[in-house]
Protein backbone atom coordinates (compact mmCIF):
# COMPACT_ATOMS: atom_id res chain seq x y z
CA UNK A 1 0.00 0.00 0.00
CA UNK A 2 1.28 3.44 -0.80
CA UNK A 3 1.85 6.16 1.73
CA UNK A 4 3.30 9.63 2.07
CA UNK A 5 6.27 11.12 3.83
CA UNK A 6 6.17 14.83 4.65
CA UNK A 7 9.52 16.53 5.25
CA UNK A 8 9.26 19.64 7.39
CA UNK A 9 12.20 21.96 7.97
CA UNK A 10 11.86 24.26 10.97
CA UNK A 11 13.80 26.89 12.88
CA UNK A 12 14.89 24.26 15.38
CA UNK A 13 15.23 21.01 13.48
CA UNK A 14 13.68 18.70 10.89
CA UNK A 15 10.60 16.58 11.33
CA UNK A 16 9.45 13.64 9.22
CA UNK A 17 5.72 12.94 9.18
CA UNK A 18 4.48 9.68 7.65
CA UNK A 19 1.07 8.26 6.91
CA UNK A 20 -0.65 5.73 4.74
CA UNK A 21 -2.54 6.85 1.66
CA UNK A 22 -5.58 7.85 3.69
CA UNK A 23 -3.49 10.61 5.25
CA UNK A 24 -5.51 10.61 8.45
CA UNK A 25 -3.13 9.15 11.04
CA UNK A 26 0.43 10.35 11.20
CA UNK A 27 3.67 9.27 12.80
CA UNK A 28 6.04 12.07 13.74
CA UNK A 29 9.81 11.61 13.78
CA UNK A 30 12.10 14.34 15.07
CA UNK A 31 13.52 16.71 15.80
CA UNK A 32 16.44 15.73 13.61
CA UNK A 33 19.40 18.13 13.98
CA UNK A 34 17.75 19.63 17.04
CA UNK A 35 18.44 23.29 17.58
CA UNK A 36 19.59 23.98 14.02
CA UNK A 37 17.73 25.84 11.33
CA UNK A 38 16.69 23.40 8.63
CA UNK A 39 15.90 25.64 5.73
CA UNK A 40 14.94 22.80 3.42
CA UNK A 41 15.04 19.06 2.97
CA UNK A 42 13.92 17.17 -0.07
CA UNK A 43 13.96 13.64 -1.46
CA UNK A 44 15.12 12.40 -4.83
CA UNK A 45 12.49 11.36 -7.34
CA UNK A 46 14.96 8.83 -8.71
CA UNK A 47 15.54 7.26 -5.27
CA UNK A 48 12.96 8.28 -2.67
CA UNK A 49 15.15 7.09 0.19
CA UNK A 50 17.82 9.59 -0.78
CA UNK A 51 17.15 12.79 1.12
CA UNK A 52 19.19 15.96 1.30
CA UNK A 53 18.93 18.52 4.08
CA UNK A 54 20.30 22.02 4.56
CA UNK A 55 21.32 22.42 8.20
CA UNK A 56 22.44 25.92 8.98
CA UNK A 57 23.33 28.22 11.84
CA UNK A 58 24.41 31.77 12.38
CA UNK A 59 27.06 30.43 14.72
CA UNK A 60 28.45 27.46 12.87
CA UNK A 61 27.69 27.99 9.21
CA UNK A 62 26.39 25.52 6.67
CA UNK A 63 26.12 21.75 6.96
CA UNK A 64 24.78 19.45 4.26
CA UNK A 65 23.20 16.27 5.54
CA UNK A 66 22.22 13.25 3.50
CA UNK A 67 20.11 10.21 4.27
CA UNK A 68 20.12 7.03 2.20
CA UNK A 69 17.35 5.36 4.15
CA UNK A 70 14.46 7.76 4.02
CA UNK A 71 15.51 9.84 6.98
CA UNK A 72 16.19 7.13 9.56
CA UNK A 73 19.89 7.94 9.64
CA UNK A 74 21.87 10.90 8.35
CA UNK A 75 25.48 11.67 7.54
CA UNK A 76 27.55 14.41 6.04
CA UNK A 77 28.57 13.06 2.64
CA UNK A 78 32.24 12.70 1.88
CA UNK A 79 34.07 13.65 5.05
CA UNK A 80 36.69 10.94 5.51
CA UNK A 81 38.77 11.48 8.65
CA UNK A 82 42.52 11.74 8.54
CA UNK A 83 42.92 13.63 5.28
CA UNK A 84 44.68 16.99 5.10
CA UNK A 85 42.30 19.69 6.20
CA UNK A 86 43.74 22.65 4.42
CA UNK A 87 44.63 23.55 0.89
CA UNK A 88 48.23 24.56 0.12
CA UNK A 89 47.25 28.19 0.63
CA UNK A 90 45.86 27.48 4.07
CA UNK A 91 42.12 27.46 3.43
CA UNK A 92 40.03 24.79 5.11
CA UNK A 93 39.56 22.00 2.61
CA UNK A 94 35.95 21.71 1.61
CA UNK A 95 33.82 18.71 1.35
CA UNK A 96 30.10 18.65 1.73
CA UNK A 97 29.90 21.91 3.67
CA UNK A 98 31.97 23.95 1.27
CA UNK A 99 30.17 26.49 -0.88
CA UNK A 100 32.77 28.77 -2.35
CA UNK A 101 31.94 31.01 -5.28
CA UNK A 102 33.80 30.07 -8.44
CA UNK A 103 36.13 32.93 -9.35
CA UNK A 104 38.53 30.92 -11.49
CA UNK A 105 39.41 32.50 -14.85
CA UNK A 106 38.32 29.40 -16.75
CA UNK A 107 34.90 28.63 -15.33
CA UNK A 108 34.05 31.28 -12.81
CA UNK A 109 32.83 34.83 -12.57
CA UNK A 110 34.49 37.68 -10.66
CA UNK A 111 33.10 38.33 -7.22
CA UNK A 112 31.53 41.70 -7.81
CA UNK A 113 29.07 43.51 -5.58
CA UNK A 114 25.32 43.50 -5.23
CA UNK A 115 23.16 46.17 -3.68
CA UNK A 116 22.51 46.36 0.02
CA UNK A 117 19.07 47.50 1.20
CA UNK A 118 20.13 51.12 0.98
CA UNK A 119 21.55 50.73 -2.52
CA UNK A 120 25.19 50.71 -1.48
CA UNK A 121 27.39 48.00 -2.98
CA UNK A 122 28.13 44.90 -0.91
CA UNK A 123 30.48 42.06 -1.79
CA UNK A 124 29.05 38.61 -2.36
CA UNK A 125 29.33 36.50 0.78
CA UNK A 126 28.04 32.96 1.24
CA UNK A 127 25.58 32.63 4.12
CA UNK A 128 23.42 29.52 3.77
CA UNK A 129 21.62 27.08 1.51
CA UNK A 130 17.95 27.95 1.13
CA UNK A 131 16.79 25.23 -1.23
CA UNK A 132 18.00 21.82 -2.37
CA UNK A 133 16.63 20.42 -5.62
CA UNK A 134 17.58 16.84 -6.44
CA UNK A 135 17.91 15.88 -10.10
CA UNK A 136 14.85 14.26 -11.61
CA UNK A 137 16.88 11.28 -12.81
CA UNK A 138 20.11 10.91 -10.80
CA UNK A 139 20.08 10.60 -6.99
CA UNK A 140 23.68 11.82 -6.80
CA UNK A 141 23.00 15.07 -8.62
CA UNK A 142 21.47 17.87 -6.61
CA UNK A 143 21.25 21.64 -6.97
CA UNK A 144 21.54 24.15 -4.14
CA UNK A 145 20.17 27.67 -4.13
CA UNK A 146 22.15 29.82 -1.74
CA UNK A 147 22.37 33.23 -0.09
CA UNK A 148 24.06 35.46 -1.31
CA UNK A 149 22.30 34.40 -4.45
CA UNK A 150 24.01 31.76 -6.54
CA UNK A 151 23.34 28.27 -7.82
CA UNK A 152 25.56 25.32 -6.92
CA UNK A 153 25.45 21.72 -8.13
CA UNK A 154 26.80 18.48 -6.74
CA UNK A 155 27.16 15.41 -8.93
CA UNK A 156 28.63 13.15 -6.24
CA UNK A 157 25.81 12.92 -3.76
CA UNK A 158 26.58 16.14 -1.97
CA UNK A 159 30.26 15.46 -1.30
CA UNK A 160 31.46 18.46 -3.27
CA UNK A 161 29.73 21.48 -4.75
CA UNK A 162 30.52 23.59 -7.79
CA UNK A 163 28.93 26.91 -8.59
CA UNK A 164 27.15 27.40 -11.91
CA UNK A 165 28.79 30.77 -12.13
CA UNK A 166 27.12 31.87 -15.33
CA UNK A 167 24.10 32.96 -13.33
CA UNK A 168 25.99 35.26 -10.97
CA UNK A 169 28.06 36.36 -13.96
CA UNK A 170 25.03 37.26 -16.03
CA UNK A 171 25.98 40.89 -15.67
CA UNK A 172 22.99 42.19 -13.78
CA UNK A 173 24.39 41.17 -10.38
CA UNK A 174 25.28 44.72 -9.32
CA UNK A 175 21.54 45.49 -9.43
CA UNK A 176 20.43 42.50 -7.34
CA UNK A 177 19.44 43.31 -3.80
CA UNK A 178 18.32 41.39 -0.74
CA UNK A 179 14.72 40.88 0.22
CA UNK A 180 13.78 41.03 3.87
CA UNK A 181 15.04 37.47 4.34
CA UNK A 182 18.35 38.05 2.59
CA UNK A 183 19.50 37.85 -1.01
CA UNK A 184 18.51 34.29 -1.58
CA UNK A 185 18.11 31.93 -4.50
CA UNK A 186 15.04 30.09 -3.26
CA UNK A 187 13.37 28.42 -6.23
CA UNK A 188 14.87 25.84 -8.60
CA UNK A 189 12.60 24.24 -11.19
CA UNK A 190 13.99 21.50 -13.42
CA UNK A 191 12.22 21.03 -16.75
CA UNK A 192 11.23 17.35 -17.02
CA UNK A 193 11.09 17.59 -20.81
CA UNK A 194 14.45 19.28 -21.32
CA UNK A 195 17.44 18.51 -19.06
CA UNK A 196 19.17 21.66 -20.27
CA UNK A 197 16.42 23.98 -19.07
CA UNK A 198 16.30 25.24 -15.48
CA UNK A 199 14.29 28.07 -13.97
CA UNK A 200 15.43 29.81 -10.80
CA UNK A 201 14.21 32.76 -8.77
CA UNK A 202 16.01 35.20 -6.50
CA UNK A 203 14.76 37.71 -3.93
CA UNK A 204 15.12 40.44 -4.98
CA UNK A 205 16.41 40.03 -8.50
CA UNK A 206 13.70 38.06 -10.25
CA UNK A 207 13.41 34.92 -12.34
CA UNK A 208 16.08 33.53 -14.65
CA UNK A 209 16.21 30.69 -17.15
CA UNK A 210 19.00 28.66 -18.65
CA UNK A 211 18.62 26.59 -21.81
CA UNK A 212 22.14 25.17 -21.77
CA UNK A 213 22.24 23.38 -18.42
CA UNK A 214 23.42 26.39 -16.47
CA UNK A 215 26.21 27.82 -18.60
CA UNK A 216 24.32 30.96 -19.57
CA UNK A 217 21.21 32.58 -18.14
CA UNK A 218 18.69 35.18 -19.12
CA UNK A 219 16.35 37.15 -16.88
CA UNK A 220 12.69 36.33 -17.54
CA UNK A 221 10.86 39.16 -15.86
CA UNK A 222 8.98 40.85 -18.70
CA UNK A 223 5.47 41.69 -17.54
CA UNK A 224 6.41 42.01 -13.88
CA UNK A 225 5.53 45.36 -12.34
CA UNK A 226 7.01 46.25 -8.95
CA UNK A 227 6.14 49.64 -7.54
CA UNK A 228 8.78 49.38 -4.84
CA UNK A 229 11.75 49.63 -7.22
CA UNK A 230 12.86 52.76 -9.07
CA UNK A 231 11.90 51.35 -12.47
CA UNK A 232 8.83 49.18 -11.86
CA UNK A 233 9.38 47.26 -15.11
CA UNK A 234 13.14 46.83 -14.77
CA UNK A 235 14.82 43.74 -16.21
CA UNK A 236 15.94 42.71 -12.70
CA UNK A 237 15.22 43.82 -9.14
CA UNK A 238 11.83 42.16 -8.63
CA UNK A 239 11.13 40.37 -5.39
CA UNK A 240 9.86 37.05 -6.69
CA UNK A 241 8.75 34.91 -3.77
CA UNK A 242 8.05 31.59 -5.44
CA UNK A 243 7.49 29.94 -8.82
CA UNK A 244 5.62 26.70 -9.47
CA UNK A 245 5.33 24.41 -12.48
CA UNK A 246 3.24 21.40 -13.41
CA UNK A 247 5.55 18.72 -14.81
CA UNK A 248 3.28 18.02 -17.78
CA UNK A 249 3.48 21.67 -18.95
CA UNK A 250 6.92 23.00 -18.11
CA UNK A 251 6.44 26.11 -20.23
CA UNK A 252 3.63 27.30 -17.98
CA UNK A 253 4.82 28.85 -14.74
CA UNK A 254 2.93 30.42 -11.87
CA UNK A 255 4.52 33.10 -9.72
CA UNK A 256 3.78 34.57 -6.32
CA UNK A 257 5.61 37.87 -6.31
CA UNK A 258 6.08 40.21 -3.35
CA UNK A 259 2.79 41.65 -4.54
CA UNK A 260 0.91 40.08 -7.47
CA UNK A 261 0.25 36.54 -8.62
CA UNK A 262 1.28 35.97 -12.23
CA UNK A 263 1.58 33.31 -14.91
CA UNK A 264 3.55 32.79 -18.09
CA UNK A 265 2.62 30.48 -20.93
CA UNK A 266 5.87 30.86 -22.81
CA UNK A 267 8.55 29.77 -20.34
CA UNK A 268 8.94 33.22 -18.87
CA UNK A 269 9.17 35.31 -22.03
CA UNK A 270 6.16 37.27 -20.80
CA UNK A 271 4.09 37.25 -17.62
CA UNK A 272 0.60 38.50 -16.90
CA UNK A 273 -1.21 39.03 -13.65
CA UNK A 274 -3.82 36.51 -12.48
CA UNK A 275 -4.54 37.91 -9.01
CA UNK A 276 -8.21 38.33 -9.91
CA UNK A 277 -10.50 38.25 -6.89
CA UNK A 278 -7.88 37.36 -4.26
CA UNK A 279 -8.41 39.33 -1.03
CA UNK A 280 -4.75 40.37 -1.23
CA UNK A 281 -2.17 39.35 -3.77
CA UNK A 282 0.74 39.46 -1.35
CA UNK A 283 1.97 36.06 -0.22
CA UNK A 284 4.82 33.61 -0.39
CA UNK A 285 3.75 30.13 -1.51
CA UNK A 286 2.23 28.98 -4.76
CA UNK A 287 1.77 25.43 -6.00
CA UNK A 288 -0.01 23.41 -8.68
CA UNK A 289 -2.37 20.45 -8.30
CA UNK A 290 -0.62 17.19 -9.15
CA UNK A 291 -3.15 16.13 -11.79
CA UNK A 292 -4.84 19.36 -12.88
CA UNK A 293 -2.34 21.78 -14.42
CA UNK A 294 -4.81 24.67 -14.27
CA UNK A 295 -5.55 24.22 -10.57
CA UNK A 296 -3.28 26.36 -8.42
CA UNK A 297 -3.02 27.28 -4.76
CA UNK A 298 -1.86 30.36 -2.86
CA UNK A 299 -2.12 31.57 0.71
CA UNK A 300 -2.88 35.31 0.67
CA UNK A 301 -1.07 37.35 3.31
CA UNK A 302 -2.32 40.76 4.32
CA UNK A 303 0.72 42.85 3.44
CA UNK A 304 4.48 42.99 3.32
CA UNK A 305 4.64 44.45 6.81
CA UNK A 306 1.78 42.50 8.34
CA UNK A 307 2.89 38.98 7.61
CA UNK A 308 -0.36 37.28 8.58
CA UNK A 309 -3.62 36.36 6.85
CA UNK A 310 -6.29 39.01 6.29
CA UNK A 311 -8.92 39.24 9.05
CA UNK A 312 -7.09 36.65 11.15
CA UNK A 313 -8.52 33.90 8.90
CA UNK A 314 -6.15 31.31 7.50
CA UNK A 315 -7.42 30.61 4.00
CA UNK A 316 -5.89 28.77 1.11
CA UNK A 317 -7.16 30.08 -2.20
CA UNK A 318 -7.60 27.73 -5.11
CA UNK A 319 -8.12 28.59 -8.74
CA UNK A 320 -9.34 25.87 -11.08
CA UNK A 321 -9.04 28.16 -14.08
CA UNK A 322 -5.33 28.87 -14.05
CA UNK A 323 -5.84 32.09 -12.12
CA UNK A 324 -8.11 35.14 -11.89
CA UNK A 325 -11.03 33.22 -10.39
CA UNK A 326 -10.25 32.09 -6.86
CA UNK A 327 -12.21 30.31 -4.15
CA UNK A 328 -11.40 30.36 -0.45
CA UNK A 329 -10.70 26.99 1.17
CA UNK A 330 -11.46 27.22 4.86
CA UNK A 331 -12.78 23.89 6.12
CA UNK A 332 -10.58 22.79 8.99
CA UNK A 333 -8.46 25.96 8.99
CA UNK A 334 -8.68 28.55 11.80
CA UNK A 335 -11.10 31.29 10.84
CA UNK A 336 -10.48 33.66 13.70
CA UNK A 337 -7.50 35.08 15.58
CA UNK A 338 -4.93 33.43 13.32
CA UNK A 339 -1.80 35.47 12.73
CA UNK A 340 0.71 33.04 11.30
CA UNK A 341 2.64 33.28 8.06
CA UNK A 342 3.29 30.61 5.44
CA UNK A 343 6.83 30.94 4.09
CA UNK A 344 7.81 30.48 0.47
CA UNK A 345 9.07 26.89 0.59
CA UNK A 346 6.35 25.67 2.95
CA UNK A 347 3.75 24.23 0.55
CA UNK A 348 3.78 20.95 -1.35
CA UNK A 349 1.43 18.60 -3.17
CA UNK A 350 1.46 14.82 -3.39
CA UNK A 351 0.60 12.75 -6.45
CA UNK A 352 -1.83 10.27 -4.97
CA UNK A 353 -5.08 9.85 -6.93
CA UNK A 354 -6.79 12.33 -4.66
CA UNK A 355 -4.15 15.05 -4.65
CA UNK A 356 -2.84 15.93 -1.21
CA UNK A 357 -1.89 19.51 -0.38
CA UNK A 358 0.31 20.45 2.57
CA UNK A 359 1.59 23.65 4.10
CA UNK A 360 3.42 24.70 7.24
CA UNK A 361 3.12 27.89 9.25
CA UNK A 362 5.34 30.08 11.32
CA UNK A 363 3.13 29.03 14.23
CA UNK A 364 4.39 25.48 13.96
CA UNK A 365 1.38 23.82 12.36
CA UNK A 366 1.60 21.56 9.34
CA UNK A 367 -1.80 21.27 7.68
CA UNK A 368 -2.75 18.51 5.25
CA UNK A 369 -5.63 18.12 2.86
CA UNK A 370 -6.23 14.72 1.29
CA UNK A 371 -8.94 16.07 -1.02
CA UNK A 372 -7.16 18.73 -3.04
CA UNK A 373 -7.89 21.45 -0.52
CA UNK A 374 -11.58 20.93 0.15
CA UNK A 375 -10.88 20.11 3.80
CA UNK A 376 -7.88 20.42 6.06
CA UNK A 377 -6.55 19.02 9.31
CA UNK A 378 -3.33 19.69 11.18
CA UNK A 379 -0.80 16.87 11.16
CA UNK A 380 1.04 18.62 13.98
CA UNK A 381 0.21 21.82 15.80
CA UNK A 382 3.22 22.76 17.85
CA UNK A 383 6.45 22.53 15.91
CA UNK A 384 8.96 25.36 15.82
CA UNK A 385 8.27 27.86 13.02
CA UNK A 386 8.07 25.90 9.77
CA UNK A 387 10.47 26.98 7.03
CA UNK A 388 9.79 24.34 4.40
CA UNK A 389 7.48 21.47 3.54
CA UNK A 390 8.03 18.75 0.96
CA UNK A 391 6.13 15.52 0.41
CA UNK A 392 7.00 12.18 -1.12
CA UNK A 393 4.67 9.41 -2.23
CA UNK A 394 6.00 6.03 -1.15
CA UNK A 395 4.98 2.93 -3.07
Amino acid sequence: MSGVRVLAGTRKGAFILTSDAKREKWDVSGPHFAGWEIYHLKGSLADPNRLYASQTSGWFGQIIQRSDDGGKTWHQPGTPPGEPTTTPDGMPKGESNKFVYDTSPETGAPLTTHQFYDGTPRPWEFKRVWHLEPSLTDPDTVYAGVEDAALFRSTDGGQTWQELAGLRGHGSGPNWQPGAGGMCLHTILLDPSDPNRIFIAISAAGAFRTDDAGKTWQPINRGLYSQYIPDPTAEVGHCVHRIAMHPSRPGVLFMQKHWDVLRTDDAGESWHEISGNLPTDFGFVIDVHAHEPETIYVVPIKSDSEHYPPDGKLRVYRSRTGGNEWEALTKGLPQSDCYVNVLRDAMAVDSLDSCGVYFGTTGGQVYASADAGDSWAPIVRDLPPVLSVEVQVLK
Binding site: S57, Q76, T79, P81, G82, G90, P92, G94, N97
Partner: protein, 98 residues
Protein backbone atom coordinates in the same frame (compact mmCIF):
# COMPACT_ATOMS: atom_id res chain seq x y z
CA UNK B 1 47.33 15.40 23.79
CA UNK B 2 45.51 18.68 23.39
CA UNK B 3 42.05 19.13 24.83
CA UNK B 4 39.42 21.20 23.04
CA UNK B 5 36.13 22.21 24.59
CA UNK B 6 33.44 22.65 21.96
CA UNK B 7 29.99 24.26 22.08
CA UNK B 8 27.09 21.84 22.52
CA UNK B 9 26.04 21.76 18.87
CA UNK B 10 29.57 21.08 17.67
CA UNK B 11 29.96 18.27 20.22
CA UNK B 12 26.77 16.79 18.78
CA UNK B 13 28.07 17.09 15.24
CA UNK B 14 31.42 15.59 16.18
CA UNK B 15 29.74 12.91 18.31
CA UNK B 16 31.88 13.63 21.36
CA UNK B 17 30.36 13.61 24.83
CA UNK B 18 32.92 15.75 26.54
CA UNK B 19 36.12 17.35 25.33
CA UNK B 20 37.57 16.60 21.92
CA UNK B 21 41.20 15.55 21.98
CA UNK B 22 43.79 15.88 19.24
CA UNK B 23 47.48 15.27 18.69
CA UNK B 24 49.56 17.99 17.11
CA UNK B 25 52.97 17.32 15.67
CA UNK B 26 55.18 20.37 15.66
CA UNK B 27 54.36 23.75 17.05
CA UNK B 28 51.05 24.06 18.85
CA UNK B 29 49.25 27.04 17.39
CA UNK B 30 45.61 27.91 16.81
CA UNK B 31 45.98 26.90 13.19
CA UNK B 32 47.68 23.57 13.91
CA UNK B 33 45.14 22.68 16.60
CA UNK B 34 42.19 23.53 14.36
CA UNK B 35 43.79 21.60 11.48
CA UNK B 36 44.17 18.59 13.75
CA UNK B 37 40.66 18.98 15.10
CA UNK B 38 39.12 19.15 11.62
CA UNK B 39 41.22 16.21 10.48
CA UNK B 40 40.06 14.00 13.31
CA UNK B 41 36.50 15.33 13.19
CA UNK B 42 35.96 16.18 9.50
CA UNK B 43 32.31 16.99 10.11
CA UNK B 44 33.52 20.16 11.84
CA UNK B 45 35.15 21.55 8.73
CA UNK B 46 33.65 24.90 7.93
CA UNK B 47 31.88 25.24 11.26
CA UNK B 48 34.61 27.05 13.20
CA UNK B 49 36.48 28.70 10.34
CA UNK B 50 34.78 30.06 7.25
CA UNK B 51 35.52 28.02 4.14
CA UNK B 52 36.17 30.95 1.86
CA UNK B 53 38.22 33.17 4.13
CA UNK B 54 39.63 30.81 6.74
CA UNK B 55 38.50 33.33 9.35
CA UNK B 56 37.00 32.44 12.73
CA UNK B 57 33.23 32.64 12.56
CA UNK B 58 32.10 35.90 14.14
CA UNK B 59 29.89 34.27 16.79
CA UNK B 60 32.71 32.06 18.06
CA UNK B 61 35.60 32.97 20.34
CA UNK B 62 38.72 31.13 21.45
CA UNK B 63 39.80 31.13 25.10
CA UNK B 64 42.49 29.41 27.16
CA UNK B 65 43.52 29.94 30.77
CA UNK B 66 40.90 32.66 31.06
CA UNK B 67 42.50 34.66 28.26
CA UNK B 68 40.75 35.63 25.03
CA UNK B 69 42.91 34.34 22.18
CA UNK B 70 40.39 35.11 19.47
CA UNK B 71 42.38 37.94 18.00
CA UNK B 72 45.86 36.49 18.36
CA UNK B 73 47.74 35.52 15.18
CA UNK B 74 46.72 32.00 14.16
CA UNK B 75 50.36 30.94 13.94
CA UNK B 76 51.33 32.24 17.38
CA UNK B 77 52.22 29.51 19.88
CA UNK B 78 49.44 28.61 22.28
CA UNK B 79 50.21 28.59 26.02
CA UNK B 80 52.32 25.66 27.20
CA UNK B 81 49.53 24.43 29.45
CA UNK B 82 47.34 24.01 26.37
CA UNK B 83 50.13 22.27 24.47
CA UNK B 84 50.61 19.82 27.34
CA UNK B 85 46.90 19.22 27.86
CA UNK B 86 46.86 20.67 31.36
CA UNK B 87 44.32 23.26 30.23
CA UNK B 88 41.79 23.04 27.39
CA UNK B 89 41.42 25.31 24.42
CA UNK B 90 37.86 26.57 24.67
CA UNK B 91 35.78 27.27 21.58
CA UNK B 92 32.95 29.39 22.88
CA UNK B 93 29.71 30.26 21.14
CA UNK B 94 28.23 33.71 21.70
CA UNK B 95 25.24 34.03 23.96
CA UNK B 96 23.22 35.70 21.25
CA UNK B 97 19.67 34.54 21.59
CA UNK B 98 17.93 32.33 19.08
Amino acid sequence: MIRVQLPYHLRTLAKVDDEATVEVHGQVTMRSVLDALESRYPMLRGTIRDHATGQRRPFLRFFACGEDLSHEPVDAPLPDVVATGAEPLVVLGAIAGG
